[in-house]
Symmetry: C2
Subunit: 245 residues, 2 copies
């Protein structure tokens, strides 16, 4: 492990901090740590990959550790007693994963795609939180962002039609994965990171309805599909219109 390089990355300009074990910037974590803390963290963190569908919680994986998502998409789901399921959140590439100050979240985290993570023990981070207030500030910011996203989605779940829901979903994915697609009449290309079943669970619909609405968007020329996963949006503004603002 090259501590020299680590130190240099921290000291030269302060901002771009890299975790030595996974060689990635940790949004919300490393950026708020002192060089000493970062070194400590690096000694206990480890990089690993998960296949699609792999569960991250309930098997003592998340409960005892926090993770940064290096690539892929993680879905947070809640399930009713009779099996009805709802996805309550999606975490993308640089997000932080893990619930501070609470072991039981009643939420299941599952890999929606292949995922690679950089994990470290809960105890180490919890101690660092107590030591450096900047870290807590980062956590608060991410939590506020998640709260905003959750509330945005509540409007979609409660008040939009199936057609608007599906358009909103595609638009959200486009903005996350292909953020270069500017707001002004630009086009976008990306892969849907989830199955139709996942999309349905996210939108509070059935797979049949999702399929029909996607077909409609396709026949109307709003999107172009390839292999059921690869999406091309020739005109993002047209998609925005379908999403019901």
């Amino acid at each position: 492990m090259n501590t020299q390089n680590l130190r240099k990355d921290v000291h030269t300009d302060g901002t771009p901090v890299v975790c030595v074990s996974c060689e990635a910037r940790h949004r919300g974590v490393c950026g708020a740590l002192t060089p000493e803390q970062l070194t400590t963290l690096s000694k206990t963190s480890y990089k690993h990959k998960l296949g699609e569908g792999h569960e991250l919680v309930g098997e003592a994986e998340k409960v005892e550790s926090y993770s940064n998502i290096l690539s892929g998409v993680v879905k947070l789901t809640k399930t009713l007693a009779d099996g009805r399921q709802q996805i309550v959140g999606l975490q993308f590439a640089p997000d932080f994963l893990g619930r501070p100050f609470k072991a039981d979240s009643e939420i299941t985290a599952q890999a929606a795609t292949n995922v690679s993570l950089c994990s470290f023990p809960k105890s180490v981070i919890d101690r660092m939180i107590r030591e450096s207030p900047g870290l807590e500030h980062k956590l608060l910011e991410q939590t506020l962002k998640e709260l905003d996203e959750a509330r945005d989605w509540m409007v979609t779940l409660g008040r939009k039609t199936a057609a608007e829901k599906v358009a909103s979903y595609i638009l959200m994915i486009a903005r996350h994965i292909d953020p270069e697609a500017g707001p002004e009449g630009a086009s976008a290309t990306f892969d849907l990171p989830m199955t139709r079943a996942d999309i349905a669970d996210f939108l509070g619909l059935t797979i049949e309805t999702v399929s029909r609405q996607i077909t409609k968007l396709r026949t109307d020329g709003v999107i172009v599909l390839e292999n059921n996963r690869h999406v091309f949006v020739p005109n993002v503004e047209r998609l925005e219109l379908r999403a019901g603002s």
Copy 2:
């Protein structure tokens, strides 16, 4: 203003801290402040009341100030361009109101009932946050709680039937307003703090559907209504069954 009393409240056992201007405990704020900060805050905070339906945001009220809710219920709503509305959160008596680090929340806060608040300027609190890390910790805890509630409600919005939604709503209100109603077969009595229109906006339904489902709960003996607002739940467990877990 009696600073002697204030100091005494802070010093004797540490925990029960009282704001001198509104004479109430402020969950999430005063409890994390030093005596000096509390004194400073008291000089700028002011207590006031708002009638039902009064807006707290968009008119420079919330943007430039934070508030503690002393009594009443505040609803947070989002509105689509065509007027469809969704309530994305409810804040009850000891909650903190106001979004740190962001002036534009795209959310409207309205008094759902008569509300009394204790407000103070954004700038004062923002400075105190920088000074005392305990305050930020409190904010993080409240934000996490709100996130949990939002995600619980997403399941209700996306996957529950109208009957289950209404039962879940009544149950949630019961637990907030009459928390003495123990989980084991106990009864509960309380007033619904919102109109049928608000309930509909909260549940993603129409007022007619809400009315029909309430009527059904009444004719089935799960609840007893009086004046359309006062509710008696003879057996909370029966209501829980209707809420679909």
